[in-house]
């Protein structure tokens, strides 16, 4: 799914402020992996995420997503594959624009912006249903500016924006629905019809074969086939990678917990491949199936799923001290 080979990054090269943030890091993430990342300040956690998203350009090394080399693409082109939530709630949304406008912009991630309306009525209804799932009452405030929301609400909204995927339009044919999803840009642009080969390439798990259903209106499908179509469309339009950079650190503990729970729900529901940086050891253990510990710009530890399950906070502290070589006195490392 995601691989990085011999990734390196040095800031301010050739000046007295020179700092090597990432040193020869290689890593691999599998489909559906949810890895939490811990490490002290300046360990290189955020830089690693920023190298993957393209916010910073790497000095050396190669990054691939699904076999595609993305390390040479500019940030805005990688955005097609990557959903992101930042630490600062102000960063992920546009304060001057309304909730629905923000959602509409995120919904077009990876799509060319043309002279179509910025938001359609159909999308508005769709966004409303999506917002209802957050249970924050935002569905009734869709035309208010995002600047009026609290930090927690903004992070929840950003999370939704980073993970939105297409849903089935019941009034359209199966083929139309699929082309709509495919044209999002995750695959080469398609015109009017799906070829037999393109159909065969799709991971269809419905009851009847996809090739026989193309002309059928989605609303006339059997339940299992309808579900299969929805799953396929989600699969085609979901972010291939979700990057969370301490996205709850700026929130109060109660809100942080809510946003984390929402994060977990969205990730498990859609089987999203995720990297989440956290300063909270307990969260690092409670969430995800893998754990990375970073130190001095390197991946010091890569704890696999089986081992992570048995780990306690105290074990993790011990491991951390072993790695860093000194006892833990970093007050930003939260233990509760």
């Amino acid at each position: 799914m995601l691989t990085a080979e011999h990734l390196s990054k040095t800031f301010n090269k050739g000046t007295i402020n020179q700092k090597t943030a990432i040193k020869d890091v290689s890593l691999e993430l599998h489909d559906g992996d949810f890895v939490t990342v811990i490490g002290g300040n300046g360990a290189g956690k955020s830089t690693l995420l920023n190298l993957i998203s393209g916010l910073h350009t790497r000095d050396k090394g190669k990054i691939t997503i699904d076999g595609m080399v993305i390390s040479k693409l500019p940030e805005y082109k990688r955005a097609k594959y990557i959903g992101r939530v930042f630490q600062d709630p102000m960063m992920g949304t546009c304060a001057d624009m309304t909730i629905e406008e923000n959602l509409a912009m995120a919904f077009r991630r990876g799509k060319r912006r043309g002279l179509h309306w910025g938001i359609s009525e159909k999308e508005r209804q769709f966004f409303k249903r999506q917002l209802e799932m957050l249970e924050l009452g935002l569905e009734d405030r869709m035309s208010s500016k995002v600047g009026l929301l609290s930090g927690g609400q903004r992070q929840a909204l950003t999370l939704l924006m980073a993970t939105m995927m297409y849903e089935v339009t019941p009034t359209e044919s199966v083929e139309k629905n699929l082309i709509y999803a495919l044209n999002r840009g995750h695959r080469p642009l398609l015109k009017r019809h799906l070829s037999a080969k393109q159909c065969a390439d799709l991971s269809w798990h419905g009851k009847r074969p996809l090739s026989q259903l193309l002309m059928v209106k989605a609303s006339e499908l059997d339940k299992p086939d309808y579900q299969a179509l929805q799953d396929l469309m989600s699969e085609l339009t979901k972010p291939k990678l979700l990057l969370l950079d301490e996205h709850t650190a700026a929130l109060d503990p109660k809100t942080a917990k809510k946003v984390l729970e929402l994060t977990e729900t969205l990730i498990s529901r859609h089987h999203l491949t995720t990297i989440m940086i956290t300063h909270n050891m307990r969260d690092a253990l409670a969430y995800g199936n893998r754990l990375w510990m970073m130190n001095n710009g390197q991946l010091a530890l890569d704890i696999p799923a089986e081992k992570k399950k048995t780990l306690q906070v105290n074990d993790l502290l011990g491991l951390f001290e072993d790695v860093v070589g000194e006892s833990l006195n970093n007050d930003r490392m939260l233990l509760s």
Partner: protein
């Protein structure tokens, strides 16, 4: 008196298109683009030279827009490709355009003489005896078309991306928009409108002068800010209408101040002070409040 107000309103309308150009760069893109000073004159110079050469006034106006758009393109590319800060990129363009304008006109001032203008065409068409009466109609038409088209544009996918580029570049890049493109596009659009306004004002005045763009950005900002006082900032359509009204109100103020015997040469100083005060009003308010609070504390 009525004539003065009518003249001020006509001028306000013709200049309002320049103010809308400033609104695009300054408010939507959050860039202080000094190219405007040059592109306004560039629009006038292009129109004057083409008109004198016998080109149809509408085509000449279109060419003015193209010239202004090119000026914006140069600034945009200097900023995005060569990483020159926007302020400096604008100053470089403005300085360069000054020479270009002299080249286009061949001298510092070109009179349209009695060449056909869009004003004379409309006056003839409507049977008006004075060309300046047509200015009001032409001004309303152009301002209306620009406001409506721009409002529609700002509500498209591209328009959303343009607006987001100005408020949170980081966010919109994370959703896959090339912000270098949106910035350049915004600068092209803004300066095309500014040059269009330059062309219209040139037709109204009957001449193009190499110095006519000096202070344009400040006049544009004054219009934007006056508009915001009356129409607010929160809704796009109202903001755009506000800019047009701001421009008209500014012209009326200028006309009244001049009529009261204020020396015309001091007008730009007056405008600059007006804009400086208007922009710093929130800060002045905050300072005043903290000053009053500390006085109160001392008294207690």
């Amino acid at each position: 008196m009525l004539d003065i107000v009518k003249g001020a309103v006509s001028q306000g309308l013709l200049w309002s298109i320049m103010a809308i150009g400033i609104y695009i760069t300054y408010r939507i893109l959050d860039i202080s683009d000094l190219t405007s000073e040059g592109s306004f004159t560039l629009g006038a110079a292009t129109l004057a030279s083409l008109s004198v050469a016998g080109v149809h006034p509408l085509l000449a106006l279109l060419m003015s827009m193209v010239a202004g758009g090119l000026a914006g393109l140069v600034t945009g590319l200097m900023h995005t490709k060569l990483k020159i800060p926007t302020l400096l990129a604008g100053i470089l363009s403005m300085t360069g355009i000054y020479s270009v304008n002299l080249r286009i006109m061949g001298k510092a001032n070109v009179s349209l003489n009695n060449q056909e203008t869009i004003l004379s065409l409309v006056a003839k068409w409507l049977g008006l005896s004075r060309e300046r009466d047509a200015a009001l109609i032409v001004g309303i038409f152009f301002a209306l078309v620009v406001v409506v088209l721009l409002y529609l544009l700002l509500n498209t996918e591209f328009g959303y991306a343009l607006r987001a580029t100005g408020t949170n570049e980081n966010m919109i890049r994370a959703s896959g928009v090339n912000t270098n493109f949106t910035k350049v596009a915004g600068l092209v659009l803004g300066n095309a409108l500014i040059a269009l306004s330059g062309g219209l004002v040139c037709q109204y005045n009957g001449y193009a002068d190499v110095a006519m763009g000096i202070g344009a950005i400040v006049i544009g900002l004054a219009s934007v800010i006056i508009g915001e006082v009356f129409f607010g900032r929160s809704r796009i359509f109202l903001s755009l209408v506000g800019v047009v009204f701001g421009s008209i109100i500014y012209r009326i103020i200028v006309a009244l101040v001049l009529r009261a015997g204020f020396p015309a040469n001091d007008m730009r100083l007056f405008t600059a002070i007006l804009v400086a005060i208007a922009i710093s009003l929130p800060q002045i308010k905050a300072n005043l409040q903290s000053f009053l609070a500390s006085r109160k504390e001392e008294a207690e």
